[in-house]
Symmetry: D2
Subunit: 344 residues, 4 copies
């Protein structure tokens, strides 16, 4: 049921909408209102028979597929969907897999591919704005996140970062993500399901829920490849961190300084690292002060100004519009501590 | 023997040296020349007995350790080293592991920790300049590199990016890295050994070498955690890519456009992505043209301007010096293709 | 008549409109449609009597005045206007000058001030996009434009840069501005009139016009302060530059490289400088090559990335939206030449 | 005498030195130590006779000349110097003026030109770091500084900004520059003399000095072109501003917020504007708060990130090294005020 909701929706790229206006985005819902027209389209559609063979792909690890049309528009659609259409026509999705060209009844083409976390972030349902890939990349690179590590994240938000962290630590690793608001955690879970980071309807620690009957898994091969390494928790991380020997803590929350003393306790003394993302410079300053007070090493604050380049036949130039700022990122490493003799 | 060379050296941060001048970096080699002085230090050193217990850590997956002194200076040192010293004193390394505070004979302290890829890139031996973490992060984030994927990289260079890719795809994944120059590949191997991305003296495909007797593995627990998923190859990738069903291809080379047609063949049709890193805008333009000609989708060229912030008691301001430019990054996704019927 | 058109209009900030969407800009024209409502407002308005004295200012050098309301909205209005109003009310403009607070009939306040070139650029009528103040500032600073110098500019465009150049060289200096399209030159003239850079209806060289009866000058004192140092010309500067001993040439046109040989001839050998503004990097490259071929010295190409800061009670951060790129600026100095002996 | 000191010195570009290291700058002083070698050079030099005519220029408004060699190195030299030389040879300066090519005794060439404020800032003697041209340009453009205006500046510093302001307002305008430290004001005066912004040894208000016998003016024509519109004052502007009806106030000092109430009084109500330059963001914030408390309008804070482009045969790319930050600039306009009725 809940799954149904997701599958019949094509979320628009919120980020892009924020920046570019007047983009004529074609809505899938719109199509579905015109059932009559659709029926007619279906009739026509039967005439289109591909003169080529379909490619076989069974490695999908996502619960959704990505359709790209010739104009570059993207649609995140449910695995179960039998057909997909926009103003360029309707295409049959039965018995085809990612990696195929799909003919539409109007003679156009769709490309069916597997979405990456980058695509999902742009298309997923959001409770709040999510970290942009540029900042996620810096977190992974500056923390040097490794396969097999344990990462704590707060807050979960829309789980954009969580998806990436889940892939970065892999099956042998673990991501524990704290979120204060249960309704946000539920939206995040849906996004994590798409990515294969959690099982369908995986319980969220701290949320009492009716057991939900989940959809059968469509593809056994892919299932074995899924990471399923994210644990969602409802809780206020400023009140303490339950986990121990944590490798990396990533904070995307308004008052990260209140977490720093807990982070110091929870982080592995040999390799514990912390990353703090905040929009305002005063927040960075307070975070840096808290890190210094708690003897963190190697404290650095950076900002990434991302420029997109317009490369066309007319010439090359940086794009006219750009995102001026998202946030500041602070990184540090926990300092080894002397263990008192009497503690033995 | 070869290992010896590595272990007795403390490579300086080349990147930092490029930017900051006049930094008084203390050399470990210098110390080793003064054997007489050292002997005296050793005598003094025996007097320093810690009044605390040492922390136990057996999770190290690196072949080197990182020493940080109180001023923030860092030294990448061999696992086997029995002691380490600089102008702040000499500390005993016997029976201590990463995560410990080490007293020096002068009453100062060193912090012994496990290096991350971020630290290793800054300290490792280099054949050429390596991609900076900011650009590596963008590659991982924009490609959406996942656990278990197969990634092709060319050229290997100093293997800074390779280390990160190795961790990003994890034990179930694979990184094949092409390099034209055998001598560069050998330097790269040493860096990959530090990271646990290749076995000690792992053969490089295309290089005939005398078998080398490798050092015994010091720590069995850590050994089991190592990724060992990188394959080094000597070869010119513009002549063709042997691998098939590749998930991601990353090109850091002067003429990436010559690889694009090969990339189109090698990439998995369902999820194949490509990343191209070049310093000059004309190179980006040629790469974009080659990608368009080969029907790649979702082509985007970006640049990351990284700003470091100085946060002190005097106030907050972006740092006065900064790296103005490293390179442009172009990303694209391979387009699904129609398979001819008669191919069956 | 033509003047009438200008005076009864309040041009919106085009630049701001380009960047910020959804801004609820109040139109003055709208007001004028509601004559009935206005009549009622006038009746009410009579009730508002200021309990303060008006400030006297007779230094205005502009043909328009700037009204700023309490929300920071700005309106460029004609000197002759008897009243001005928007949704915050209507204010009487009789017998008040710039520098005054004007009560509206609704109890609100308007601020009546003298516009600067910065304000005029944002509000003026445009034929094409104009150089932004950030780039104009760089041109003035990098060329080191001085009082009394002769500056050639091409093309005139909307005359945003011309206004600034006019002020920079002052009464003893001269700005000759080339424009190929007469209709653009006429729009530019209106903007230059506002600034006091040309006399009302000053002839444009190359445009035959009926003499126009100009409005009487309102303020004799201000008249004496006006610079009136701009000469507008219709012509294609790639065909040659008539002026000699020119101090500075500024090119904002698609093919500046075609002007470089002419610039070399026209520029004063002791201090001739050139500035070239183009949006595409290929254009900069071609301009630099032309400058090198013509032995120009001190060639430098720069770009200004302007960041606006949001400073509020919540904290400080760079603005989320920003202009990513306007153009590249190249500067150079003409090289002294050997004069042949037989030329004497 | 004092002039002598200046004329025999070639100040190096301090800004460039800060950024680029290892630049092999040739010192003129070095040459002068080798008198013997010089004598020999002079003998040789006599052999070099130009086969071309010299260009005549009598428009110089500076007290110094600029020599540029073929490598682009620049030397600011005294008008009276009879010859100039570096490692490329020695050239005769007798009877030649700016705008000429000068043969050296080694067969090389020097270019003798008139320096602009841009050149002088790079070469002048400094008490403190001076505003860079990029920030000076923004001040002129955002304030919309006009010919004939009265500008107040504090502090004078090395007078880099003062030179530009002096040219921007021209002969009919006036720049009053406050400086707390008399020794800085004296260095600033020397720089202002070069530019023709003050008369030689013009008294500084607040400094008692012995009258100095000034050098005779070399060039009567140029003298008439000089602006001479700067007044230097010793004083603490936070204690009050004596001037009234000021058009623009520019503050480059640590505590500009303490000047804001005085600025409000001193600024012309119809067009008074203020610009504040500070390196730290906390300073900007305090300045903005002070401006808001004092009802200033149109408050905006910006930062200019200047990028230099490397354009060579290898391709185009932004320069690797760049200045990451200089300062934040805040601009505002004074708000008209109600004048109390009883004040009449």
């Amino acid at each position: 049921m809940t799954n149904e909701e997701l599958t019949n929706k094509t979320e628009e790229t919120q980020e892009t909408q924020d920046i570019k206006t007047n983009e004529n985005t074609e809505s899938v819902e719109k199509k579905e209102e015109n059932n009559v027209e659709m029926e007619e389209k279906k009739k026509e559609k039967k005439e289109v028979k591909p003169t080529w063979k379909y490619y076989t792909y069974d490695g999908s690890t996502k619960t959704k597929k990505l359709v790209i049309d010739k104009r570059g528009k993207k649609y995140l659609i449910a695995k179960e969907n039998k057909e997909f259409g926009n103003d360029l026509g309707v295409a049959n999705l039965t018995d085809v897999s990612e990696g195929n060209v799909l003919p539409t009844h109007k003679g156009d083409e769709f490309y069916l591919v597997e979405p990456t976390a980058f695509d999902i972030i742009k298309k997923m349902k959001r409770s709040v704005t999510t970290l942009l890939p540029k900042d996620i990349g810096l977190i992974i690179a500056y923390c040097g996140i490794e396969n097999g590590e344990t990462v704590i994240e707060a807050g979960t938000g829309s789980a954009g970062l969580t998806m990436y962290l889940s892939q970065a630590v892999g099956k042998e690793g673990k991501v524990v993500t704290y979120e204060k608001r249960p309704e946000f955690a539920k939206i995040a879970r849906k996004n994590l399901e798409i990515m294969g980071s959690v099982k369908l309807n995986q319980p969220i620690i701290g949320v009492d829920e009716e057991p939900v009957e989940t959809e059968p898994i469509l593809n056994e091969v892919a299932e074995s490849k899924k990471v399923y390494n994210v644990i969602q928790k409802i809780g206020d991380i400023t009140e303490g961190i339950e986990e121990q020997d944590v490798d990396v803590i990533v904070l995307d929350m308004p008052d990260p300084w209140n977490v720093v003393p807990h982070a110091k306790q929870a982080l592995n003394k040999a390799k514990g690292r912390i990353a703090v993302y905040v929009p305002y410079i005063e927040q960075s300053k307070k975070a840096v002060e808290a890190l210094k007070e708690n003897n963190f090493l190697d404290i650095i604050t950076i900002e990434c100004i991302l420029r997109e380049m317009d490369i066309s036949e007319k010439g090359v130039r940086p794009s006219t519009r750009m995102i001026g700022h998202t946030g500041y990122l602070t990184f540090a490493r926990v300092c080894p501590e002397k263990l008192p003799l009497n503690e033995e």
